[in-house]
Amino acid sequence: MTAPGPRPVRTSPARRRTPRPGGRLAWPIAAVAAIALALLVLPLVSLVLRAPWADLPRLLARESVLQALVLSFGTALAATALCLVLGVPLAAVLARASGWPSLPRRLLRAAVTVPLVLPPVVGGIALLQFLGRRGVVGGLLDDRFGITVPFTTGAVVIAQVFVALPFLVFAVEGALRTADRRTELAAATLGASRWQVFRHVTLPLVAPGVAAGAVLCFSRALGEFGATITFAGSLPGVTRTLPIASYLAMQSDPDEAIALALLLLAVSIAVLIGLRDRWLPGVRG
C-alpha cells in the first residue's frame, strides 16, 4: 500500500544544475558523427538527384512495374494481417512469460528474435527445407495433398511473415508490459470474462503498440528481398515484388530500377512520418 498525500511537484532547479546534453563535444566526435550522418543521408539524396523525374510517370506506368507494385502491396498487406493474427497472441504469451523459469523464457525470446538477426537468405533456405517440395513438411503437403508452397505468391507472404513477425511481436509485447495489469483485474470484478477482458480492455490499451508494430511490420515486409527470392523466386506477376524487380532492372534498365527504388523510399518516408506523428510519442519533437 502506498502512502497518501499529494504528489511531489517537479521543480526545475534540480534540472538546471545538470548540463544540457549536446553542449560541448570534442570536435573529432562531432566530425565522425557528421560522416556517419552523411553515410546515411547522402545515398538517398543522390538517388533523388539522379532520378529520371521527366520519365517517371512513363516508367511507373509500365506493365512490369504495376505488376510488381500490386504484388508487393498485396503480399505486404496480407503478411501484416497474418502477423497481427499470429503475433498479438504470441506477444501476449511473451509478456506473461516473465513468471516462467529462465530457460524456456530465454528460448522463447530467442526464437522470436532469430529472424531479426538472421540473414534473410538463410531464412529463405530454411523455409525451403521446411516447406519446399522435398522439405520436412512441404514433402508431405506435396505427396498427400498435391500442395506446392515454394515459388508461389503464398510463399512470398510466408517469407515476409517470417522476417516481419518479430517487429510486431516486440512492439505489442512492449505495450502489454507497460499497460496497468490492475485495469484487467478491475474489468474482471465488473463481470468481464477472460476473453472480454482481452477484447474490451487489454486490446484497446495496447492498440497504439499494435498499430506501431503493424506499420513497422508492413514496411519490413514490403522491403523483403533475400528470403523471398530464395524461397519464392522471381516469377513476374507471381513472386517478383518491388525490391526484386528493382534489383533485376538495375542490370537491364537502371532508370526503371531507380524509379522503383524511389517508390519504395517514398513508402518508407510515409511510414516514418506516420510513426512519428501518431505512434511513437518518444520520437516526437
Binding site: P4, G5, A187, L190, G191
Partner: protein, 241 residues
Amino acid sequence: MTRMPRPVLHADVHVARGGLHVEAAFDVTPGHPLAVIGPNGAGKSTVLAAIAGLVPLDAGGVSIGDRVIDGLPPEARRIGVVFQDYVLFPHLDVRDNIAFAARMRGGSRAAARAAAEPWLERYGLTLLAERFPAELSGGQAQRVALARALAAEPEVLLLDEPMSALDVEVRAEMRDELATHVREFGGATVLVTHSPADAAALADSVLVLEAGRVTQRGTLADLRAAPATPYVGRMLAASHD
C-alpha cells in the same frame, strides 16, 4: 434502487504472499460497514483481493449469504471493488466506464449506455459523461469508480484506500459524500484504510490487521477505551485528519 434483503459476507482468508502470511476471519453485516485498518504492508489489500478473487486463497473460504464463492472467478462473484487510485479504464469515457458492467453482461452498447444514465445522474456526473479519466479530478474519479462498481449491482462492496488518492483539501468533503453512497448501497461493505477518520466516517466497526494477523476488533470507541497493541494506541493518538 430495489431494496432487497442483502446477504452477509463471511470471509475466512488465509493467504501467504511474499513472506507474509495473512489470516483474517470476519463477518460483515449489510448496512454495517467494516474498516480494515493497519500499518503499511500488514496485508489489508491482500484481504480485499482474496475476497474479490484476485489472489487465490491458500485456505479458508468466502461466502455471500449461503452462496460459497471462493471457487468462483472474480467475474462471477458479484463483488464490487473500488481500487486504490480507482483504476478507471483510460480508453473509455465516464459514461462507458460506468456502462462497462452492463456491456459485459451482453446487449448492445446503446443499451448499456442507457443503463448508465441514472448512475451518471445520481453521482452528479452527467456533465462529465464525455470526459476521459485523464481529464478528471481525484474526487470526480472517485465518484466514477464508485458508480462503475455499483452499476454492476454487486452484493458486496470493497473499497481499497478510497481516500488516499485525494488531495487533503477535498478529503473531508469526499469522505462525507462517500459515506452517503455507501449507506445508500446498503450491502455488506469492507473498507481498507490507514486513517481512523475514514473509519469513523465510513464504517461501524474496525478490524485491526498487523503483520497479517487480526490484533483487535470493535468500534473505534472500543479501540480508544482499550488499545490492544502499541500500534492501535499510536494510530488513534496520531489521527487528526
